[in-house]
Symmetry: none
Subunit: 134 residues, 4 copies
DNA sequence: GTGGTCTAGACCACG
DNA sequence: GTGGTCTAGACCACA
C-alpha cells in the first residue's frame, strides 16, 4: 500500500492522507490520469471513517492535485493549471525552509551537513531511498 | 522588539514564541548568556496570557535553547550540548524537508528554483535580508 | 457543435445540458420550431449516458423550452406562453441576482464595475462576444 | 435573528450559512471586527449540528470573510486583502450573470424589466427592502 | 469556552 | 457505485 496513516500522530489523519497522496504523486507512484480508490474503499483500507477520507479528497481537489469526475471517481490531475492559492503556498514554503534552517542551527548541524540532508530529502521525495546513513 | 506574535495566525501562539526565540538565537540577536524577559514581562509585552509564555519557555528549556536559573532568571544557553530529544527532532526536520520538496513539486518549481529558495531561506534565517527577488 | 459538456465541472451534467440548450435558444442559435437531436443521438455526441440527456430534456420540457411531439421528435417552443413554474423561477432569479450582488461586494467590485459586468454578461448571453476586457 | 436556515432546501445547510453570513456582512448587519456566535451557540440557534456550522465557518475563513482568533472566537475581517481565489470567483460571478440573463429571456422579461430587477436585487443585498412590487 | 477532528451511521443526488 | 451532506456524540489542543 502506498499510503499509511497513524491515528495517534499529532498531525490530523485527513492531513496525513493529503500529504500521502501528494507524496505519491510527486514520487511518480501515482501518475496524472490514475484513478484513486473510492472514498469508502480507501476508508476501509486505512481503517478510518469515510468522512475523514472525503475531507482529504476535498482538500486535494482544492489544491488541484486530484479531480472528481461525477459518478465515475477521482483522478490525479494533469498538472496543467497553477492552483489559485499558489502565492500563499509559496510563502508558507519559504517560511517552512526558514524554520528548517533555524532548527538545523539549534541541532548543531553545519551548513554542509544540512545541505546534504536537504538533498537527501529531495531524493526521498522522489521515491528513491537514500542509500547512505545520516 | 525582536519578537512579535499574531493571534490570528494558524500556528499556536506559544509555538510562535518558541519559533521566535529560536530564530532570534539563530540570527544572533540573542547571544548565549543573554537574559530573557521574565514570563510575566514578556506576556505583557506580547499582550498574551502568561500561561502561554510559560508554556513556550518550558518547551524552549526542554529543547536546551534556554536555561532557567532559579532566582536569577532565564538565559540563552550555549548550543554546545546535544539536546536529549535530538534524534526525534532530526527526524522531524528530515520530514519537514521531504514535505517541502513535495510541495515544491506541486507548485511547479524546478529543482534549481527550489534550491535557490532554500539558500535564500538560509540567509533569512541568519538575519540577512535576501537582496534579490524570487 | 453548439453544446459541450464537462464531466469534471461541479455542476451536474444534466444541468449543463439544460443550461446549454437554454443558452442556445436565448442566443438565437436555436430558433422556435427547430428540431433537437434525439436523446440517444445527443447522448452519443456528448459522450454521456442517455439517461442524463433524457433527464435534461424532461426538465426543459417542464420549463416549456422544448416540446416533445410524439413520433415526430422534440422541438424548440415559441416563448409565448408563461411556463407553469414561472413564479418559482422568478423567485430563484431574484435570489441569484441578490447573491451576485453580495459576491460582488466581497470581491471588492464597485457598483459601476459590477453593472458593467452585468451588461457584458447580457451581451455574452445574446451570443455577441464582449469586445473589451474586464 | 439575522440568519435562518431551511434544512429541506436543495442548497446544503452549510452553504446557506455561508451565504447568510456573507449577506449579513454585505448588508452591514455585521461590521468588520464584530464577533460571530460560537460554532456551538450558532448550531443550537439554527437547530443544526455543530459540525455543519464549523464547516461553514471554515469555508468563510477560506474566503477571507471571517477570521478565527485562537481561543477567543471568530470575527468579521476587515476587507483589507483580496482573497486568493478572486480570479476564479470573478469567473463564476460572470457566469452566474450570464445564466441569469438567459433565464430572464426564457421568462419573457424585457431588458428594462430585468435591469430593474437587477437594481432591486442590489438594494435588497444592501439590506434595504425594495419598496415596490415586481 | 473556543474551534478542530474523528467516528458511526444515515440519506441524497448523480450517472 | 460515486461523492456529498448531515446528525449525534466523543475527545483534544489552545488560550
Amino acid at each position: 500500500m502506498w499510503l499509511q496513516v497513524d491515528p495517534r500522530a499529532p498531525t490530523p489523519v485527513y492531513q496525513q492522507i493529503v500529504d500521502g497522496v501528494k507524496a505519491a504523486v510527486a514520487a511518480g507512484w501515482l501518475a496524472p490520469g490514475d484513478r484513486l480508490p473510492s472514498v469508502r474503499d480507501l476508508a476501509v483500507a486505512l481503517a478510518v471513517n469515510h468522512n475523514t477520507v472525503a475531507k482529504a479528497y476535498q482538500e486535494l481537489e482544492r489544491s488541484r492535485v486530484i479531480e472528481v469526475i461525477r459518478g465515475r471517481g477521482t483522478f490525479v490531475t494533469r498538472p496543467s493549471r497553477t492552483p489559485p492559492d499558489a502565492a500563499e503556498r509559496m510563502e508558507k514554503l519559504r517560511d517552512a525552509l526558514r524554520l528548517a534552517w533555524i532548527e538545523a542551527y539549534h541541532l548543531g548541524l553545519t551548513d554542509a551537513e544540512f545541505e546534504r540532508m536537504f538533498h537527501q530529502a529531495g531524493e526521498a521525495a522522489r521515491g528513491r531511498a537514500d542509500m547512505e546513513g545520516v
